[in-house]
């Protein structure tokens, strides 16, 4: 006992500024990832079948895009193979007026939302940075700088709410992205503003090669929500029914004015980071195989069969529908894209600056000279023109 306490003259009151903000208990994620498949839960058959069709289509899309990369038709493809359940559920949880904010790995979510796959792949094909109209599709451009799209989602949702519009934004990020400062700032802004945003973290185990253990010491990524004052939800990311249930719940909760939510989907990236990566350098084949046992497409097929909602014919039909999509994609991606070099100057500003005008004229003159040379080459013989036919046609 201190001298002051002995004297009885001194009583330490709590600091005046402090008061509890809120009870953290309701914000805490469950101890285990939420699951629906393989449980006794009552599930809507039509929804399960729709999810299954989308999963089969999504898997085929990933395979086709990977093949197109090997054929040189895509510059790069970060595959979401193994993560189809989270991708598909994100798209299906939204209403028409809602916005999706995908990262570069979330092409499938945009495709599942109904966008033209060729337009979605524009960034990865390299004919332009983004190939669809975000305003009419309500899908933001695929974001390459990690987590930087998250504050965009917050701003858009906040703006919509200020205008009195019924719009929810769903923003997608990976486990690595949660280490970025923009992740923190976005979640903090969303919570302070009570913006109608759902943050979906796909924890696929790796940020390229770095495993989650080197990314965070948090109990789970869902737990991060609690520090911002929003609920965190932990879900089996390969269980499409669970993903759809939790995301729909979060979206509708946000729509009702109850603020943002963080959903962690526990999943696994079955392929390498991209076609340029070698995953054997940082993980064991056995680990990958163990996750193949928990494949989202197979899980859903098993569930549907066990509930008597799917037979061999149904499996074949879903496969054929996916094959038609893949065939169409393959055929269109094998056509040369129409390139418009002058577009390089047309959208930097609303109006070209004088300096850009001068540079545009320079390029136009170079293209015209190349065209003239190309035409001359085609008409004559023995030319040593330095531009190949291919380059000429692309100009």
């Amino acid at each position: 006992m201190t001298v002051l306490e002995q004297s009885g003259a001194y009583h330490l009151a709590p600091p005046p500024a402090w008061r509890p903000r809120r009870d953290p208990a309701p914000l805490m994620p469950d101890g285990e990832p939420f699951r629906l498949l393989g449980t006794e839960a009552e599930l809507e058959g039509a929804l399960l079948r729709e999810l299954y069709g989308q999963l089969v289509r999504g898997r085929r899309f990933n395979e086709q895009a990977t093949a197109l990369t090997k054929q040189g038709r895509l510059a790069v493809y970060p595959s979401s193979t193994g993560q189809e359940a989270a991708e598909v559920a994100a798209a299906l949880a939204l209403r028409e007026q809602d916005w999706l904010f995908p990262s570069y790995r979330d092409t499938l979510a945009a495709v599942a939302r109904g966008l033209d796959p060729v337009a979605v792949l524009s960034l990865l094909r390299g004919d332009w940075h983004s190939g669809y109209d975000p305003r009419s599709t309500r899908v933001a451009p695929l974001s390459t700088p990690l987590a930087t799209q998250l504050p965009h989602a917050v701003g858009l949702a906040h703006a919509a709410r200020l205008k009195g519009d019924d719009v929810v934004a769903l923003a997608m990020v990976g486990d690595g992205g949660t280490s970025e400062g923009d992740f923190h700032e976005a979640l903090n802004f969303a919570a302070v503003w009570q913006a109608p945003v759902v943050f979906l973290v796909q924890n696929n185990g790796f940020a390229i090669s770095v495993p989650l253990a080197k990314q965070t010491a948090a109990p789970s990524l869902a737990h991060k929500a609690v520090g911002y004052g929003m609920p965190g939800r932990l879900v089996d990311g390969n269980d499409a029914a669970a993903m759809h249930h939790v995301l729909t719940d979060a979206v509708e909760r946000a729509r009702a004015g109850e603020g943002p939510c963080l959903v962690e989907a526990v999943t696994y990236r079955l392929e390498a980071h991209t076609n340029a990566d070698d995953a054997t350098r940082y993980r064991e084949a056995a680990e990958v195989e163990s996750w193949r046992e928990h494949d989202p497409v197979a899980l859903m097929e098993r569930e549907l069969r066990s509930r008597g909602l799917l037979d061999d014919d149904g499996v074949r039909e879903a496969g054929e529908a996916a094959e038609r999509m893949a065939g169409d994609l393959r055929e269109r991606m094998h056509q040369e894209p129409e390139l418009a070099p002058m577009d390089l100057f047309d959208h930097v500003f609303a109006r070209r600056t004088p300096q850009l005008q001068g540079q545009a004229e320079q390029l136009r003159a170079e293209l015209a000279a190349a065209e003239a040379e190309h035409t001359g080459t085609a008409g004559g013989s023995g030319s040593t023109g330095h531009r190949t036919d291919d380059q000429g046609s692309r100009k």
Partner: protein, 367 residues
């Protein structure tokens, strides 16, 4: 620049408010521009750190939250990337955000949003998502600020394609250029010279001087002997130097105020230098790879056969911004401008920096 005279009240002033003060300082003109923009366009939203209740650390947003409500003039968490990132989302939804970075060097956490998204979103989406947002940044030294409060950061933004970079040097331009910036469908980095915030000028909100579209320089003082090319905080220095040169040397210096660094009004600058045959670029920013390097290169290229002397630069030294008690040694002043003018081969006798006492070596402030 003259001292403010007379009194005035803004048109349409709210009777419930205290009588509006005469917006005669640059800070007040900026405040008035924000107020008028908020009143004219419901899509304009002002937000940033301390811009609400406090009215901003420089009081540029004073009274806006009270008049337009916390949804139109909003205090945000202390996070510059978050401020700029959410501004992107608001612009995507059709709003016209005007955000404040509290100080030049405090804007750097938001740099990625500026460089990777704000400057590129229109281009990325082939025009589908323009970024009609304004980023206000108090910049430059001369106010006795401790470290991180006095940077001249304009070269970073100039080097980023897709951003307009605007900086006023007069009270009238502060109002006019900020209104134009907010109305612009392109992102504008609006650099406010801190040390001119309290400079007074004869300006009336009922008759705001017409300001042309962003991208037009103006000749502040005509002259035939040489051209001083400057902007923002260095304009008063150049005007004073021009008066001194006329008084003491009989030289008539033309002073060009760029007003916007991007777009760069090459035609006005080139026309002036072709007339005078001599040019000095004056700015606080460091000289090496600074704005003056680009300007001098362009002037040299387009005025080569008109030039009587190399284009010189008077710039800040190539050092981290000095502590306040030493900043007077760093900032371009009238004497340095006049020294540079004196070196413009008036006797057709070019002296290199080394020969004239080392002033012009690459690390120096005068070259």
């Amino acid at each position: 620049m003259s001292t403010a005279t007379g009194t005035s009240s803004p048109p349409g002033a709210q009777p419930s408010r205290e009588p509006a003060r005469k917006p005669s300082t640059m800070a007040q003109a900026l405040n008035r521009a924000l107020r008028d923009a908020l009143a004219d366009d419901p899509d304009v939203h002002v937000f940033g750190e301390d811009v609400g209740t406090l009215g901003g650390v420089f009081r540029v947003t004073d009274g806006l939250a009270a008049e337009f409500g916390a949804d139109r003039c909003t205090d945000t968490p202390l996070a510059e990337a978050g401020i700029l990132g959410t501004a992107v989302g608001m612009a995507m939804y059709g709003m016209r955000p005007v955000v404040e970075m509290q100080f030049d060097a405090f804007a750097y956490p938001g740099f990625e949003q500026l460089v990777s998204h704000i400057s590129r979103m229109r281009n990325r989406t082939r025009g589908a998502l323009p970024m009609p947002l304004t980023v206000r940044i108090p910049y430059g030294g001369g106010i006795g600020g401790v470290e991180h409060h006095s940077d001249s950061s304009e070269a970073y933004y100039m080097a980023t394609p897709g951003l307009h970079v605007v900086t006023p040097a007069t009270v009238a331009d502060a109002y006019g250029l900020l209104r134009k910036s907010i109305a612009s469908d392109d992102p504008v980095v609006f650099l406010e010279p801190k040390r001119l915030y309290w400079g007074k000028d004869d300006w009336s909100p009922e008759r705001p001087a017409e300001v042309p579209e962003i991208g037009r320089a103006v000749v502040r003082r005509p002259g035939s002997s040489a051209t001083l090319i400057t902007y923002g905080p260095s304009l008063p220095v150049c005007m004073e130097a021009a008066e001194a040169a006329a008084r003491d040397e009989g030289l008539e210096l033309e002073v060009v105020d760029l007003r916007s660094l991007v777009p760069f009004d090459e035609d006005t600058v080139v026309a002036s230098v072709r007339r005078t045959g001599r040019a000095v670029v004056v700015h606080e920013s460091t000289g090496f790879a600074g704005p003056g390097a680009e300007i001098a290169a362009r002037v040299t290229e387009r005025c080569f056969h008109h030039l009587e002397a190399p284009v010189l630069r008077v710039a800040g030294f190539d050092i981290p911004y000095p502590p306040p008690m030493l900043e007077r040694h760093h900032l371009p002043d009238v004497d340095r401008v006049l020294d540079a003018v004196a070196r413009l081969q008036w006797e057709s006798e070019w002296r290199s920096g080394e020969e004239s006492g080392g002033l012009g070596s690459l690390g120096g402030g005068v070259r």
